[in-house]
């Protein structure tokens, strides 16, 4: 009884094993590329108009094709399936038999460029799944770049002026958005930019594993990650502090540009960078590059839920009236310690003195002619204790008991602490129109000048208070 059962089991498993072995052998003999090449040969024969062509078609040999590009250190077998990329007769055929679109191959011959230098993916693979590496369960580092982002590869060799002239609109527009939406306010590229976000040098060549894919809805590829992250950063990285009001189209363009920020370099003889473009050094361009991401138009202060503090309006006439350019430059250069405001000096965020000057000039361009009414603080004998009592009632609700700031600005940081007492007193007295800071000297609250002087003297002691 038992013996029979085991004999049966042996028989069944032997048959199963044999079936698997046969299947494996069949797959080995009939790989995906062979199927495509057979179809291609048929198509070629059918489309051949004259005898010479027919002969050529007949002579077509079904075998693995490989482009070996020594200078790029690439071996691309993509043409084993995409067999008709150079055949003009295949212009209207379906993928993968189709000829390469446009006349790109004219100036970028396969023999010199191969495929993956532009398209990425696994050049050595001989089936679609491994070569394109788009499926969730493939773990190849570099999936094929979707065609909507392919212009990211052009920037490896070409400068943006050339690309703009020759219709690479997507990567050009992505770059424009990148420079005008204030991305550099938080991210460094080439040593200049804020420090709140990651530096983006080489982000375009980061492998797939670099990006947290857990919350990605679409394909788990770098390009899909960038797009979804642009649309809703906190849906992808829950703790992210990134600000982004980016629509679907802009997200595509920006993702294209981000993929162009590569850490690898093409060999010198391939590159066609002609540096025809001089960077725009106007105050406005610099403001857009580094400031606009947080300060937006600079005309309105607003409380930001992500930073959990108010982002002040830096082009507010009420501020410019009492703050001179020297003080503004100090704020920009030193930043505001204890807040998200980066220090922009050459040794920190990497702006030059000249660039900071240009930015300060730009934000102060609408300074009103009238000076605030002077406030002779030195005239008063300030009572720090009384100032502290008043501070706790009047100021602490917004500026925090220890001056750390929330709705009101941080008063502990060195820049405010080093400010002229008169500047602080005038601010308390007159408030800051256009921001929530009310005029405490005005009727309705009516702090006396003595009381304001007391408060200012107390504010000057805040740097000593530990959080």
């Amino acid at each position: 009884m038992h013996r029979r059962f085991y004999l049966k089991l042996l028989l069944v498993s032997s048959i199963a094993l044999l079936a698997f072995a046969l299947l494996a052998a069949y797959k080995e003999i009939n790989p995906e590329w062979k199927h495509y090449q057979n179809n291609y040969k048929e198509l070629f024969m059918k489309n051949a108009k004259d005898e010479a062509m027919k002969e050529k078609a007949k002579a077509f040999k079904v075998e693995v094709q490989q482009l070996y590009i020594e200078k790029l250190n690439r071996a691309d077998r993509c043409v084993s399936c995409h067999i008709g990329v150079e055949n003009p007769m295949m212009a209207k055929a379906e993928a993968p038999y189709k000829k390469h679109s446009g006349d790109y191959l004219g100036k970028h011959p396969l023999s010199r460029f191969g495929c993956t230098a532009c398209h990425q993916g696994q050049g050595r693979a001989t089936n679609k799944e491994e070569a394109h590496a788009l499926e969730h369960d493939t773990h190849w580092e570099y999936p094929i770049v979707p065609l909507k982002h392919i212009q990211s590869s052009c920037a490896q060799c070409h400068d943006y002026a050339m690309l703009e002239k020759n219709g690479a609109d997507k990567v050009v527009r992505g770059r424009k958005l990148f420079l005008e939406k204030g991305c550099l306010g938080c991210h460094k590229v080439d040593g200049a930019g804020g420090i709140l976000g990651k530096a983006l040098d080489g982000i375009g060549t980061q492998p797939r594993a670099y990006f947290p894919m857990r919350y990605i809805q679409g394909e788990r590829t770098q390009s899909a990650w960038h797009k979804e992250h642009f649309l809703d950063p906190r849906a992808i990285v829950p703790e992210s502090e990134m600000k982004a009001s980016i629509n679907d189209e802009e997200a595509d363009f920006l993702a294209t540009y981000i993929l162009a920020l590569k850490s690898t370099e093409m060999p010198r003889e391939y590159r066609r960078i002609r540096q025809t473009e001089t960077p725009d050094m106007s105050g406005e361009a610099l403001y857009k590059k580094y400031c606009i991401g947080c300060h937006t138009t600079g005309r309105e202060s607003y409380f930001d839920e992500i930073f959990n503090r108010t982002i002040p309006s830096i082009m507010n006439p009420a501020l410019l009236k009492s703050a001179d350019n020297q003080y503004l430059k100090k704020i920009v250069s030193e930043g505001r310690e204890g807040t998200q405001m980066t220090s922009w000096k050459p040794t920190a965020a990497g702006l030059t003195e000249q660039e900071i000057d240009m930015i300060v000039e730009y934000i102060s361009k609408d300074r009103p002619a009238a000076k605030p009414e002077p406030f002779d603080v030195a005239k008063f004998r300030a009572d720090v204790k009384r100032g502290g009592e008043l501070f706790n009632i009047r100021c602490a609700l917004c500026h925090g008991k220890k001056g750390e700031g929330e709705l009101g600005i941080n008063l502990k940081n060195p820049v405010v602490q080093s400010a002229d007492p008169e500047f602080l007193a005038v601010t308390v007295r007159d408030g800051r129109a256009g921001t929530p800071m009310p005029p405490f000297g005005k009727d309705g609250v009516g702090l006396k000048e003595q009381e304001i002087a007391d408060i200012v003297s107390y504010v000057k002691t805040l740097s000593q208070k530990k959080l």
Binding site: Y302, E305, I306, I311, R394, L407, P438, V445
Partner: protein
């Protein structure tokens, strides 16, 4: 009746007069002590002017010197935050039915705990109980409603044992769909429903529906707070009372579903 001579009567009357005069003086004196020149409670006025007026305005109309505060949500939407206008007597965070004045406890709770996301700071440790009571009494002078109406009885909220159970969440989800909560709050509870961009409060200012995934309600973080919101509504906003359209049990089922949206239960 010997003791009641003419002299005695005069004395009694005079004595009574003196007592009345003293009483009158005492009352008057007491009044000048506790009330300011305009007849308002002095302590409440002092606290209000020091702490509240800067936002809520001298006449309680919500137009203080601080003015409108712009607040940018995580989603990037910017909305204006305005201080409560006390002159209409309309309050959102009540434990009393819709259309009613709030109970003193409701106002005390707001003074104590503040309102998260609205820049109303907590005063729990800032003010004494007397000061808080005085300021609650003081803000009532801004609206005639406080003279004409009595506050209604507070809604009692006793949470059922099955709150947050799987069956209850499912029932709540159906109610969420049937009662069209999603029109404003969105299918996913993130406050981005099809009508979310066109909501205005009674003062004509744009408001946003609550995003259940973004932390606790302004009223508070307990299930009871959600229940009371469903029952009492948020007067002055687009959030109606469901006291008449949903029975008590259904309202608690709906609370269960919001607990799921908030990630409190699975």
């Amino acid at each position: 009746m010997e003791g009641f001579s003419d002299k005695g009567i005069v004395r009694t009357i005079a004595g009574t007069c003196v007592i009345f005069l003293l009483l009158f003086l005492a009352v008057t004196f007491h009044k000048t002590d506790a009330y300011g020149e305009d007849g308002s409670p002095a302590l409440g006025k002092k606290v209000y002017e020091e702490r509240c007026m800067i936002c809520h305005g001298a006449s309680g109309d919500g137009k203080g010197l601080v003015g409108v505060i712009k607040r940018s949500e995580k989603s990037g939407r910017v909305l204006d935050v305005r201080p409560r206008d006390f002159t209409t007597g309309v309050f959102r965070f009540r434990s009393t039915p819709t259309g009613c004045l709030p109970a003193d406890e409701d106002l005390m709770r707001l003074v104590d705990g503040g309102i998260t996301k609205s820049f109303m700071p907590p005063h729990k440790d800032e003010l004494s109980l007397d000061e808080k009571k005085a300021v609650v009494a003081y803000i009532k002078i801004f609206s005639e409603r406080w003279k004409e109406e009595e506050p209604c009885k507070a809604i009692s909220a006793a949470k059922p044992k099955w709150l947050g159970s799987k069956a209850s969440v499912e029932k709540g989800q159906k109610i969420y769909k049937d009662m069209k909560c999603w029109e404003c709050h969105g299918d996913d509870g993130k406050g981005k429903g099809p009508k979310s961009n066109e909501l205005k409060d009674d003062w004509g200012n744009q408001i946003l529906p609550f995003n259940f995934t973004a932390g606790s309600l302004k009223r508070g973080a307990n299930p009871e707070d959600v229940y009371i919101t469903f029952t009492a509504g948020l007067d002055g906003t687009g959030m109606p009372s469901y006291e008449d359209s949903l029975n008590e049990e259904d309202r608690w089922h709906l609370v269960s579903y919001t607990l799921k949206l908030m990630g409190v239960v699975k």
